[in-house]
């Protein structure tokens, strides 16, 4: 067992209203530069829909993610090492700008400089790629809210996998929003595809980053990533991707997309995982078993064995504490209501989703039924096969059972909490029916419906994790003399001269003296100086407290 910690995210899709605030604020923060005009580290897709870039999920075309070779070992779907080296001079699997969209601006200046005339001046669109006047034909969310109708939504690869016959039916049935960022996978295919080795996963927090000094612009990562969440900056010639806002999370702040989320649907927390098990889990033969396999990689932060191993592997104490309080751990492992996006890509994604129950509730309400009655909801989950199958196509490689189980839990929670809110006796049977207790229902409800800022974002800072190391960066512990043989506890001109004694030296000697001396109060000599940190409450050591009056000595 090799314990590693990762910051990961869960999004509650029931709460997403498709406002794109996350996308806009992310773009303002990260990709409002030349060369990244078309880049959205965070985008919100209407599902069913083609997504951004168009039909990115169709791996028969784009060849992203991993596949298993004849011996059952992982291999990038776009080809192994030899094939990639031979194909380095051109990459036909790279989406072109047309697959994303041609970014544009308007010549706003004509609005203010146009002379007085009969017609209202208009600002015409100009391509930001070629600088020529352009016709706006597509964008990152062109098919928002099923815009474009069945023709566009019908080309959704997940829809096409389900079946063509049911298409219209289910379009009447439901629609929901899917916000996407980089998945910060445990087994990233972009990284495997990078010829320069410039993409790496940070050992401390699992964030996947591109080393901008190491990237040489081979563009293989764009092909490798099945989520198409690595972008090629066409000005600098380097790959760029979502950074999980690492400058923010390092100091304990949530990512910009989470911070600004209007629906408060994002949760960030620490997950512990066993790095030794990742490859074996990703090599699970059955696509549908990959969800369970990934759950098997995660570790229980309450387990004493895990805690001991984590300490051995250098996971800081603050991170272990955060892992125990992690909302992400609760939603993924404890309540099992969050699911990974497209586990069949075998990248072991680390941004998970709670599938939406609202389409089911809406369908019930529209047909005149009580949308919060447990019996109705359970029946509807079974009856509304199409939404469940569609969600299964997104989250569980097509296996409807885990999705239905999650929806049943959410339905049971709604029904259970309605009883509570209306003052009716809580019906424990409702909780038991989905394998949970009433207490679990209450806790899950709190996390999903009420959780405040510090419950949604449990982010340990890097500084706290490194504080112990920083304190000792002045010197290692237990040294009386520094590397030049000078006494550390005293400078050349007496006590207060020279460099300050490192905290560990001072407290080491102080504690030793305190523990071995027979004297009750201050040991008298300078080495044994007692301060507020190492004072054990015995007596009133000199210099620790201000003098009260003249007689106080």
């Amino acid at each position: 067992m090799r314990v590693m910690a990762q910051l990961s995210m869960v999004m509650n899709l029931d709460k997403c209203i498709g406002c794109h605030t996350c996308s806009v604020t992310c773009k303002q923060a990260w990709t409002n530069r030349a060369g990244t005009e078309y880049v959205w580290f965070n985008n919100v897709e209407t599902r069913p829909g083609q997504g951004y870039p168009r039909r990115y999920e169709d791996q028969d075309t784009w060849q992203g993610g991993w596949t298993l070779d004849r011996k059952g070992r992982l291999k990038p779907r776009s080809g192994g090492r030899a094939r990639r080296m031979l194909g380095i001079f051109s990459n036909p699997l790279l989406p072109t700008i047309a697959d994303y969209y041609e970014p544009w601006t308007y010549d706003y200046e004509t609005l203010t400089t146009a002379p007085l005339q009969d017609d209202v001046p208009v600002a015409r669109p100009y391509s930001l790629i070629s600088g020529e006047p352009t016709k706006v034909e597509w964008s990152a969310n062109w098919d928002d809210d099923l815009g474009g109708g069945p023709d566009i939504a019908g080309r959704d690869p997940v829809v096409q996998k389900i079946s063509d016959a049911i298409r219209l039916d289910y379009e009447r049935a439901f629609m929901f929003y899917l916000p996407r960022i980089c998945e910060h996978c445990l087994n990233p295919a972009c990284m495997a595809a990078c010829p320069s080795g410039a993409i790496y996963k940070r050992a401390e927090d699992g964030i996947v980053l591109v080393d901008q000094d190491g990237c040489r612009g081979w563009r293989m990562c764009v092909t490798g990533c099945p989520y198409k969440k690595i972008y090629f900056n066409h000005r600098t010639g380097k790959a760029e991707k979502c950074t999980f806002c690492y400058p923010r999370v390092e100091v304990g702040l949530p990512t910009v997309c989470s911070e600004t989320c209007v629906g408060r649907l994002r949760y960030i927390g620490v997950l512990l995982y066993d790095a030794d098990k990742v490859t074996a889990a990703a090599e699970t033969e059955d696509d549908k078993a990959l969800y369970e396999a990934q759950l098997g990689v995660f570790l229980d932060p309450e387990d004493p064995e895990v805690i001991a191993a984590a300490r051995r592997d250098g996971v800081p104490e603050t991170w272990l504490e955060a892992a125990r309080r992690s909302p992400v751990h609760a939603l993924i492992n404890r309540y099992r209501v969050a699911l990974p996006l497209h586990p069949e890509f075998r990248t072991m994604p680390m941004v998970w989703y709670i599938p939406p129950l609202s389409p089911v509730v809406d369908a019930l309400r529209d047909t005149g039924h009580d949308g919060e009655d447990a019996g109705n909801l359970f029946g509807a989950i079974e009856a509304l096969r199409i939404p469940v199958r569609y969600l299964a196509g997104l989250f569980t490689a097509g296996d409807p059972e885990p999705v239905a189980a999650v929806l049943r839990k959410l339905a049971a929670m709604r029904s259970y909490m309605r009883d509570t809110n209306l003052g009716d006796p809580a019906d424990e049977a409702k909780a038991a029916a989905v394998g949970m207790s009433g207490r679990d229902m209450q806790d899950m409800y709190r996390l999903l419906a009420l959780a405040k800022y510090d419950e949604r974002y449990v982010i340990p800072t890097q500084a706290a994790a490194e504080a112990a190391a920083l304190e000792e960066s002045a010197c290692p512990v237990d040294y009386d003399y520094d590397e030049h043989g000078r006494d550390r506890t005293s400078g050349p001109f007496g006590e207060a001269s020279g460099r300050p004694a490192p905290a560990s030296v001072e407290s080491f000697h102080a504690l030793k003296d305190r523990q071995t001396t027979g004297a009750l109060v201050s040991p008298g000599d300078r080495k044994g100086r007692v301060n507020l940190l190492n004072w054990d409450g015995k007596g009133r050591p000199g210099g620790l407290f201000p003098r009260r009056g003249k007689g106080d000595e």
């Binding site: 992982l74 990038p76 090492r81 030899a82 990639r84 080296m85 380095i88 001079f89 051109s90 990459n91 036909p92 790279l94 072109t96 700008i97 790629i129 070629s130 600088g131 020529e132 087994n187 990233p188 990284m191 495997a192 990078c194 010829p195 320069s196 080795g197 993409i199 790496y200 996963k201 940070r202 050992a203 401390e204 927090d205 080393d211 901008q212 000094d213 190491g214 990237c215 040489r216 612009g217 081979w218 563009r219 090629f232 066409h234 600098t236 010639g237 380097k238 990742v278 890097q462 490194e466 920083l470 960066s473 002045a474 460099r499």
Partner: protein
Amino acid sequence: MNLLLWVALPYVAIACLVGGTVWRYRYDRFGWTTRSSELYEKRLLRIASPLFHFGLIFVILGHIAGLVVPEDWTEAVHVPESAYHAVSLVAGSIAGAAAVAGLALLVYRRRTSGPVFSATTRNDKLMYVLLGGSLLLGLGVTVIENGIRGPYDYRETVGPWFRDVFLLRPDPDLMARIPLLYKFHVLLGLVLTALFPFTRLIHAFAAPWRYPFRPYIVYRSRGGRGPATRDPARGWEPVTRR
């Protein structure tokens, strides 16, 4: 004049190549990229780029075989000059033609595809002129001097001169006797060598030869000594230290 062209210039070119590469590595790793335009246009690139690059690889291999390997060595393994000549003529012509055709397509694409053209810098244009010129002259030398005008054994003049430059005993007289076309080809090649690290050609030195040997998944520590990071300064050291 001979001294300037065949003794001074090669050393200047080598100095520029080495110094420029070191400078680029130390101060401009961010700019060290292929600057691919595949995002804008990939249909023509699909044909042109591999054609050009593979052609060029064989051209370079041919140069190494022709310039670095002395004539005695091939004769020692009983390869007569006539056989070597035939191989070099045929292989060189094919590789050269492929590279020239690829480059022509690439330049055509660059000129006609709007976004690709607007992403072209003056530096690129100069580089294309030099690279295209050297390639055309090289192909001309192979076809005309070695082929049509009858065999010319550059391994008695250019080859020894090239090796002597590296042995620090350059002999300009060897080069004074060679055909004019050859002279132009070598000169243009030297200028290109000198400018190499300052153009996008530098991406050739980023060839990912380590990729086949590294594991697929890469972990790096946040505090690790990545190329762009440095050790954290100790508390009392001024933060401006570099």
